[in-house]
């Protein structure tokens, strides 16, 4: 059998993730990149349940469960304590939070941690809503999506505002490394994890982790849908190293798929009208063009 990713596993079978959980993929791949000398702090999110109930855990690495809004603060404390104890060298300190814990309630602690320049890696597994509490909208929910707090109804009350661009917020902190990734591309996640491990200083990674339960699609489609998100350019895969942009999954204009192909795969977009789809298509196109310009203006070529 061909192995395009490392064979070592740092999480065990028997975890509590739903069938086809993109969040389970994301952790599995991240740990393959980071290796066993990793300490994770994780707040309230699906992953607060996935490892299993006391006294069992699927994790082969040290893990601290923290309060919802403190992931950034917790990893700051862990990093400082490891330094105080002379144990920091060779150990990677990781904050692992969902999109709500990152873009909403945890954004203050995250901003504080990266601004202070701790040698920490913050990874957001982005399933685009509060999934553990039952699919409530977060600021990272994309425009047009149904959630239990943006029920569509007769007034078409799907989420009206765009997805908060937390990646660019991190870039604005001028940290050494910021990137997006997707469970559709494990090799890319692992490469980026290795890169983060080698960089001394704060890094941010946002992994698109589709959720069958919340996005309303059959569990076998997780990887396929994640791939479509990148092929339609609604979730581009890129990295920003010391301010220099690089698109890692380049989508040629003639290969770029329409957003409708992505929306059709998921129940959460089922009731969207033609006008809104067109509006979203235009904004996806504009964002993609902007990203390409950023790569050209602030890319590695210069």
């Amino acid at each position: 059998m061909k192995h395009t990713i490392p064979q070592e596993e740092y999480m065990e079978r028997g975890h509590m993730a739903c069938l086809g959980c993109g969040g389970a993929h994301a952790m599995r791949y991240l740990l393959k990149g980071l290796g066993e000398k990793t300490i994770i702090a994780l707040p309230a999110c699906c992953w607060a349940v996935i490892p299993g109930v006391y006294p069992y855990s699927c994790m082969d690495i040290p893990l601290q469960y923290v309060a919802f809004e403190v992931t950034g603060a917790a990893i700051s404390g862990i990093e400082a304590a490891l330094k105080a104890k002379g144990k920091k060298d060779g150990t990677t300190v990781v904050g692992w939070a969902g999109d709500g814990g990152t873009a909403d309630i945890g954004i203050q602690a995250l901003s504080g941690a990266v601004e202070r320049g701790h040698d920490v890696k913050y990874v957001c597994y982005d399933n685009e809503a509060y999934m553990n509490t039952g699919i409530q909208r977060s600021s990272a929910t994309p425009r047009g999506a149904w959630t239990t707090t943006t029920p569509v109804g007769s007034t078409k009350a799907w989420k009206q505002t765009p997805k908060k661009n937390i990646v660019e917020i991190m870039v604005a902190h001028e940290i050494p490394y910021t990137c997006t990734a997707s469970v559709a591309y494990p090799e890319d996640i692992i490469r980026k994890a290795v890169k983060m491990k080698e960089i001394e200083g704060p890094c941010y990674m946002q992994i698109l982790a589709p959720c069958p339960t919340g996005w309303k699609y059959p569990p076998e489609k997780t990887i396929e849908i994640a791939r479509l998100a990148t092929e339609t350019c609604i979730f581009p895969i890129y990295e920003v190293t010391d301010g220099k942009y690089k698109i890692n999954k380049r989508i040629r204009d003639d290969k770029k798929k329409n957003i409708i192909d992505y929306f059709r795969t998921q129940g959460r977009f089922r009731k969207l009208d033609e006008t809104t789809i067109q509006q979203i298509q235009s904004s996806v196109d504009a964002e993609w063009e902007l990203l390409k310009k950023k790569e050209k203006c602030f890319g590695e070529e210069i």
Binding site: G52, Q64, S76, G77, T91, Q108
Partner: protein, 389 residues
Amino acid sequence: MKMVLSGNEAAAYASMIARAEVIPAYPITPQTKIVEKIADLIADGKFNTQFIKMESEHSAMAAAISASLVGARTFTATSSQGLLLMHEMLHWASGSRTPVVMVNINRAIAPPWNVWADQSDSIAQRDTGWIQFYCESCQEVMDTTIQLYKICEDNDVLLPAMLSEDAFYLSHTSEPVDMPDQDAVDTFLGKFDPPYKLDVENPHSFGSLSMPHQWYMEFRYKIALAMEEARKKIVEVDREYGKIFGRSYGGMLDLYRCDDADIVLVAAGSMSSTIRVVVDELRENGAKVGFARLRVFRPFPAEEFRSLAAKVGTICVLDRSFCFGYEGAFFTEIKAALYGIDNPPLVRGYVIGIGGRDVTRNSLINIINDSNNPEIKGPVDTWVDLKRC
């Protein structure tokens, strides 16, 4: 080494002499001098510690908990609104069994804005699973901070502790303070070595899910047991500290001229010094008055109060805080401790000094005279020194 230090400076020096390894903190009046002094000590190369300038008190406590789980000795300081913002993480600290030591400057809660002495902030944290101390002097701030590490880091205790000192009366008042010798403190405290750590060599998860039929309730019971252990440890450590360093503070309840007293005043914090002066004055005039200083509020010195109650006729409880809808917390808890004893004393409650209002000699004399008033039959909560409109 003798120095002239404010309460805040004494706290900063104590964190240094106790060798706190990680200090996540956020500035708030009137605690600021603590973080500034720590920053100075680090800048001058005298203090080797990881000082994290956090972006909020809530985050400061979160970072302290994580650092403690790694096995680092941690210190932080806050006050009032900052302490209230920390509230969620205070529970997290005790639930994680992390012996974080914190100095809290007792300051009033807004609105209206008021930065002066008031114990409502720490009283509101009564049920968070923290050990709570109240100090009377800058020297006691220094000594108690050191004692707290010894108490909290004991493997039978492993609970966080806060030391409270009144805003400005103590935080900004300078007194001669003796800082103990570093080697002696090192020997006294030893190294912090909790049974489990966040450690890549020996991985564990901390704080995972526990269902109703599993072990959540038992973990809470363990905290209750640890508080009982702390009760013994507090007295033991204060005694041991006294033997080594020559100063001790009466364990849980610091009694002053109570032996043959008819009336005993109970209070915590900086007003204690004023009360001692008044007690001395009244004693000279032949009145049998004593003072019991509540040094520790959690665990609560219930047994100590029962012993005291057996000997006195009246206990006047002075609360520098108020629990709306009932009465001052010290008043409530002391009465509860005395429930069911034979011949209980008259217990009277006085709310005093709220928002930093001075607690004067005259206020105290009035309270003592009031408690002697034979017309008063049962316990009543009285607000002292209210303005007449």
